[in-house]
Amino acid sequence: MLRYITNRVLVAIPTLLLVSIFVFMLQKLLPGDPILVLAGENRDPETIAMLRELYRMNDPLIMQYLYWLGDVLRGNLGISLRTGLPVTELILQKLPVTLQLAVMSMIFAIVIGVPAGVMSAVKKGTFWDYLANFIALSGLSVPNFWLGIMLILLVSVNLGWLPASGYESPWVDPVRSFQTMLMPSIVLGTALAATLMRHTRSSMLGVLQADYVRTARAKGLREKTVIRYHAFRNALLPIITLSAVMFGELLAGAVLTEQIFTIPGFGKMIVDAVFNRDYAVVQGVVLVTATGFIVINLLADILYVLLNPRMRANL
């Protein structure tokens, strides 16, 4: 097991290095000279020369990358041009907000998607199966920013049940925090619920045809017991890993949701940074998201092996 984990971590390292190269090169795609932007309107030659030296722009590209990577490994993602604050500090401020949104969306998706998938598989070919499939496909097709706008229109503007925007920390006012995050979680979790439904259905259909399920039925067990203890438990394995992987997607999906509901999280930060041409923040967010994605994938792989006795036995 330890060897498997070590191997997986070792495979992740070159991927992380390549991600860092891509993120570094993003800045090089920038049209024009970023130093001229930093130098301000006066563009004093001495200031420009000093800034070039400070940002090591006179060094070869490979050296610039190595210096940048060294800073990143020490937790220094640069300074935000707009706020003058370290990017790491900004990300650490915003990340908990997005994590709260992602966790609530994940809970919503699991609560809706998994039971719907089980029901759809158990009642395959019936009206309920078609209905669940139609809803799932709709969930995958609806743009989440439109769903958000429609929910605001219905729930906040017309019914006045929930606030249309804003954020409150759960440590300050848990009820208000839940109220402000409920609609965004539904919006962000809808597509994930649809994906989970489809995968749960397909996984359940596979398991329901397995020999051990047939044996359980032949033993005369009640259908509910067969589904709950024999089929569902085994069908759950790929769903757990998928959920872990999809959690990374939620962090990205939060960009639009946070924009619509004016939630001061990670996603809103990248959009604001884009418009303020705060490239260090854009780079930082992409790097942190990608690293988080790789780490979550790694954990999902390990979790899959830990939960699957057959996989463990083959190691």
């Binding site: 070159p14 891509f22 496909l137 995958l140 609806v142 743009p143 429609m150 990205a252 490239y279 998201t289």
Partner: protein, 294 residues
């Protein structure tokens, strides 16, 4: 064996009844795929015919008719500066469909050759391409598209490039996997045995046989790309005003939700329908091209 020997005997086509295409027959039987196909075809038709339709200019403003509710004169109402929403919707369909198709073409044109190279040659070529693909896949689609659009500058063209580049790894991985299973087939071995070059084997023997799953993925990715374009336009990184786009129309509509809710209704419904159409068509194509499905 010459090409001529592969040709059917003269008159054979006239005598033998033409064998119907199995994929098309299966696709025709799939009702939801057909619905999806019709929806997509309708949107494509509307987008193509936009210049010929008797509708006002999408940019024509009328300050006397701001935020009018849907009526017989303006079927979908008017926006905040009196522009006809139906007209903007029709012209917006052009931007969305064009973005969907062109960005997927970019992704296919870069991703498929790289995937073929990785799968066919294996070894270091495969290792380098596979690791780069892993790294690109680690960057979530929308974040990568936003970052690229930000660095390239806001415009529909750059949004299409950004979305296309973000979708490249999907096609590399898919093609590579397909090539790995096809390259050991007898007909590829046979082509190698008669001394054909790598380029000819890849283009004539491998590519046509890995094409079906790529077609399915392309159809489904068009749906994702349309949502991505709308998302980028919604954020102000895609089509720039006053040119119409469903995403930017939604962004504007957000500011007038209580006064003119119809402004938000139509663009979102259109994105939903066209994306649903592509998803249904893609799912149907997958079933029709799957030899295991009967």
């Amino acid at each position: 064996m010459t090409d001529a020997s592969l040709m059917p005997a003269a008159g054979a086509t006239a005598l033998a009844p033409r064998k119907p295409n199995r994929t098309w027959t299966k696709l025709k039987k799939n009702r939801s795929a057909m619905v999806g196909g019709v929806v997509v075809a309708l949107f494509v038709l509307i987008a193509l015919l936009a210049p010929l339709l008797p509708i006002p200019s999408p940019s024509a403003t009328d300050w006397g008719k701001i935020r009018l509710a849907p009526s017989t004169e303006h079927w979908m109402g008017t926006d905040e500066i009196g522009r006809d929403i139906l007209s903007r919707m029709i012209w917006g369909a052009r931007a969305s469909l064009m973005a969907g198709v062109i960005s997927v073409m970019i992704a296919v044109m870069i991703g498929v050759p790289l995937g073929v190279l990785a799968g066919y040659f294996g070894g270091w070529t495969d290792q380098i391409i596979a690791r780069a693909t892993d790294a690109l896949l680690a960057m979530p689609f929308l974040i990568l598209a936003i970052a690229l659009a930000a660095f390239l500058g806001p415009s529909l063209t750059n949004a299409m490039i950004a979305i296309g580049l973000s979708a490249v790894p999907i096609f590399i991985r898919l093609t590579r996997g397909q090539v790995l299973s096809v390259k050991t087939e007898d007909y590829v071995e046979g082509a190698r045995a008669i001394g054909l070059g790598h380029l000819r084997i890849m283009s004539h023997y491998i590519l046509p046989n890995v094409f079906p799953p790529i077609l399915v993925q392309a159809t489904l990715t068009i749906a994702t790309a349309i949502i991505a374009e709308a998302s980028l336009s919604f954020l102000g990184l895609g089509q720039q005003p006053p040119l119409p786009s469903w995403g930017s129309m939604l962004a504007t509509a957000r500011n007038f939700l209580s006064q003119a809710p119809w402004m938000a209704l139509w663009p979102g419904a259109a994105i939903f329908m066209v994306v649903m159409g592509f998803n249904l068509l893609g799912d149907g194509l997958r079933d029709a091209l799957d030899p295991k499905e009967t």
